[in-house]
């Protein structure tokens, strides 16, 4: 492989891993926030236990989202300095806003929520999870504004060989960013919904303790998964309207259209191969569409079954299938993302900067060592995290340590003694 391919692989694996964790983070945060709101309003012990159980799974998952996310942020400057130098004045603005307005607060309040359990006033504690959830949305929004710019640059001018932002509003209003934001947000809710339903179904099938808690959770999960699947598909459909011509042509499989797109780009940018890899683009899209069909059918069926009390209590085939469905939204997310990002190739900034030009001047050895190091560490941590997530999900609410005692209770000793 060439150095640029190694750099792409490294970024793709980091971003792909990040995407897996943040999809669940975003969906589960919303569900936890809603459940905690109910628990705070009613002081119902079942909902309080629900908050802690799903909150614990959320926190286990969240840690890897941070780890992969911060590496990704730095990889932009590390391996894609050509991109940063050329277009940093444009999409760097939304990256900066993301870190400061969204992630900074998200992380600060997450710490407050986790460690402030039984320490903060319950309304303040509830406010903390809502701040975490809403800033997570904001984070996704600003990241997709950056991504949308790379997919379909708007509101810029090219001067002295670099881009400058001329219309911030146009960059934010970019339909490629807006549509993707709602699509990803919906996808995260699908992921969270199926996850909650699948884990609950496991406990219902095994007839573990807390049947009431998991019946409630199952209904919430399915109740979210079905509308979220439709919502996501709607914005996915709109997204097809904003495809770049070359991506659309390759996806259609129509050789004449692809040749026309290639000829048009070659006329504008000089000789070269301007078509994205057809295999990846089509496989990504097909994976996403098949997964959508499965999820749509299954969440529709489940929405009916969850209204039938005996089915919720004892239809074990259905429980078993619901648990098996947990990975499907993740597969769909990755498929859609491969479609979107592979379809952008060979461009880093569509029509303006190629991926090869975007790469930092790194040696093949530097790139190989870096790739090997990140892959090794991340692979080990991802496997560990998923094993722990599965373990915590199986063990149920009794084994939850999140919020199980007053943490770090105040002492009478003053902290500062000058």
């Amino acid at each position: 492989m060439e150095t640029v391919d190694l750099a792409r692989l490294q970024f793709a694996l980091t971003a792909g891993a990040h995407f897996l964790f943040v999809a669940l983070t975003l969906g589960l945060a919303t569900l936890v926030a809603v459940v905690q709101t109910w628990a705070t309003l009613t002081r119902n012990p079942v909902h309080q236990r629900m908050t802690r159980f799903w909150g614990q799974l959320y926190v286990i998952n969240y840690a890897m989202g941070i780890a992969t996310g911060l590496v990704m942020e730095f990889q932009l400057g590390l391996t894609w300095s050509g991109l940063t130098e050329f277009a940093g004045n444009t999409f760097g603005a939304s990256l900066a806003i993301e870190t400061l307005v969204a992630f900074f607060l998200e992380s600060t309040f997450l710490g407050l929520w986790i460690f402030g359990w039984n320490k903060l006033n319950r309304w303040a504690h509830l406010a903390a999870i809502w701040v975490v959830t809403l800033t997570a949305y904001a984070s996704a929004f600003w990241i997709l504004v950056s991504n949308g710019f790379l997919q379909r640059p708007v509101g810029y001018e090219l001067a002295d060989g670099v881009l400058r932002l001329t219309d911030f509003g146009a960059m934010v209003a970019n339909p490629t960013a807006q549509v993707a934001f709602f699509h990803v947000l919906g996808g995260a809710m699908v992921t969270g919904g199926f996850f909650m339903a699948g884990v609950s179904a496991y406990h219902l099938r095994r007839r573990t303790a807390e049947q009431d808690l998991f019946r409630k959770s199952l209904r919430i999960g399915i109740g979210v998964a079905l509308p979220a699947t439709l919502f996501t598909a709607t914005f996915g459909g709109l997204g097809f309207e904003t495809l770049q011509p070359a991506k659309a042509a390759v996806w259609s499989g129509d050789a004449a259209r692809a040749a026309a797109a290639q000829a048009e780009l070659a006329a504008a940018h000089g000789p070269g191969d301007y078509l994205p890899p057809a295999g990846w683009v089509q496989a990504g899209a097909m994976t996403m569409l098949i997964a959508f069909a499965v999820m749509f059918f299954f969440s529709g069926l489940s929405a009916v079954l969850m209204l039938i009390r005996p089915a919720v209590r004892g239809l074990r085939v259905w429980h078993w299938l619901l648990t098996l469905m947990i990975p499907v939204p993740f597969v769909a997310m990755l498929g859609g993302w491969v479609f979107r990002e592979m379809g952008r190739q060979p461009w880093a900034v569509y029509g303006l900067l190629t991926t090869a030009e975007a790469m930092s001047p790194l040696t093949p050895t530097q790139m190989r060592v870096s790739l090997a190091a990140f892959v090794t560490v991340f692979a080990a941590l991802i496997v560990t995290t998923y094993a722990l997530l599965a373990r915590a999900a199986r063990r149920g609410p009794d084994a939850v340590t999140l919020g199980d005692r007053p943490i770090d209770a105040p002492s009478t000793e003053p902290a500062l003694s000058l």
């Binding site: 890897m64 941070i66 780890a67 911060l70 942020e73 730095f74 932009l76 400057g77 590390l78 300095s81 050509g82 940063t84 130098e85 940093g88 004045n89 444009t90 760097g92 603005a93 990256l95 900066a96 806003i97 993301e98 870190t99 400061l100 307005v101 992630f103 900074f104 607060l105 992380s107 600060t108 710490g111 407050l112 460690f115 402030g116 320490k119 903060l120 932002l165 911030f168 930092s360 790194l362 530097q366 190091a373 990140f374 560490v377 991340f378 941590l381 560990t384 722990l388 915590a392 340590t401 999140l402 943490i407 770090d408 209770a409 105040p410 002492s411 000793e413 902290a415 003694s417 000058l418």
Partner: protein, 246 residues
Amino acid sequence: MEIFVLAFFALGYLVLGGADIGVGMALPYLGRGADERREVIAAIAPFFLGNEVWLVATAGVLAGLFPELEAELLSGNVAVVVPLLLSWVVRDMGLWLRGRLPGIRWRGFWDGAVVAGSWGLALSLGVLLSDVLLGLHGPVALVPALLVAVVFGAHGLAFATLRLRGELRRRAAVLSGGSGEARTYALTAAALVAIGVLAGLRLPLTAGPTAALLTPVILVVTPLLVAAQAWVWWIFRHRVTGPSYL
């Protein structure tokens, strides 16, 4: 003004994040068994998430206001930035994972990850700073880097003295002597700020054209960010009385 924005977040990271890095470095000294180490970690637990975002924010400020410098600083120092990131990930995951399973070996392993990651972070930050400050590359840069790491370690001990009680606090106070804990913390913080300022003065700091748009936004939100963090500091202002969630 852009330079002050960058300095604010970078120096904020050195002082706040430096404290949890230093505690991680001193973990084997401060906590002699798994339970003691858990209590030491409780000293930084509520803060480390809020501390490390100062470095993420620094990267964000670089990306938005100084994209050329960002590209140069990061891609020009691959051999340092990659270990820095890996150390950061290993340290964080050590903190998150150590309490997830009960076994003594499991805890020992992830405590080791916290220590290794913290040292890795301190040393790679040290190499990066000495590269900027002194223009040193390669193995020779490890000498000033080690000095920087020692400052991080001392800063961590000072922070631990302010947060811990009893025997753990006595161990952490090894450097403070009779001179007062807060004063030691102020001193180590000042040393980190001085290193950061001196390094910053040697960077080519010319803000990009997006500054006109971004700087006002940053100036408006920054008080809000500081207020949110101040709330966390206030909530967890008391000394640690037992293990935390981690």
